[in-house]
Symmetry: C3
Subunit: 157 residues, 3 copies
């Protein structure tokens, strides 16, 4: 008699990070690999979703000088000293909070980056190329941030 070990697995976790700079790249790769191992996923996906609107999730190389280049690129794409209607407290009436601070530039930079990364898992391993690492990108730090991770697919086989 065989035991059916192949089944649907759906596991959710949250990652909390405290950022320390206005723009910052935080490497989540090791934590994601650990979540896949703990969940026992063999084939499927890991969907990494930020829960904020001035942040992003990207996949690229973890080389410090390159991350500095990325920061320069993002600063040029939407300068923090530009004019943003979102920051005009004379006319804005929607979603205004006590802790409001000018961050139109951060929203604009976030628009140009993905808010999630959907990654494949095969043979119980998060599949990444030689230089690929998964980054949470802070664009309006420092702040406390939260990332949702869904590990979803087949367990056993």
């Amino acid at each position: 008699m065989e035991t059916l070990t192949r089944g649907l697995l759906c596991h959710h976790a949250r990652i909390h990070v405290a950022t320390t700079h206005p723009t910052e790249f935080i490497d989540l790769t090791a934590r994601l690999e650990q979540l896949v191992a703990e969940a026992g996923l063999t084939f499927g996906i890991v969907n990494v979703q930020t829960l904020h609107t001035t942040t992003a999730v990207v996949v690229n190389e973890h080389e410090p000088l390159l991350l500095a280049d990325f920061t320069t690129l993002l600063e040029a794409s939407a300068p923090d000293d530009g004019r943003y209607r979102h920051d005009d407290t004379n006319v804005r009436i929607v979603n205004v909070t006590e802790e409001e601070r000018p961050n139109g530039h951060a929203h604009c930079r976030a628009l140009l980056l993905p808010s999630s990364a959907c990654l494949n898992v095969t043979s119980a391993r998060l599949l990444l190329g030689r230089w690929q690492r998964v980054f949470f990108v802070e664009l309006d730090g420092p702040r406390e941030r939260e990332i949702s991770v869904l590990v979803f697919g087949e367990a056993g086989r």
Copy 2:
């Protein structure tokens, strides 16, 4: 005797929208939440995919002045009065239709934005952060548009 209520759920729906402006952000969040509830999904993903090449799907804050900032940013990234070979009717021979109109700028803006959003569902709720809303982005309106939504994961538990 127990009844096994945990099972694979895979439900597909289409959302139709009629846009009214060249660039427009249409908030799909309430419709997506309704689709998750109707399908009875408890854990899994919702994959929201545009079916057009001059549109996008993004996640950001629903604040009208911010959406105006986004429009300004997109206009600057690929100006509609720029020169696009795609719009050069003297040389172009591929995919030319009766209703052709110059929209190279809209394709270029679409290239810089995601064409889909993969969102996590936990405890029967579409998981979004406090300020996150899901937008269909029209970049070449007004037009009739269609969005594909896959609700996929576990039902019951």
Copy 3:
């Protein structure tokens, strides 16, 4: 007696491409449609993930002049004659390899594009709009490249 034919399907494949230009758009659509058919998926997703950090996966129209417009846009977003700290061999010490070549511009362009595309499958067909095609984007060619494809969902129904 009925046989239960509806079940979880999770199939992984790799696509290999050899690019021939610095920037190049390679249409993967036919190969992806074939993978869906071969796997026998009826409802679910196809997640197409590049395994490199100077490449991307995008969905747009396959019109050669438009692809030339995209190349122009990417070149402007991060010029290949710009200054990138990633390429400064006097100061860089991380991830330096024998075959290193200046490619900071290619990483920056990749940052602005998605590294994967999650596409819906319904009624045993990869769901794409009339003009949508799925492209692997080379940003630092020519090179040998590899793309991971996960076909994931329900088989039978």
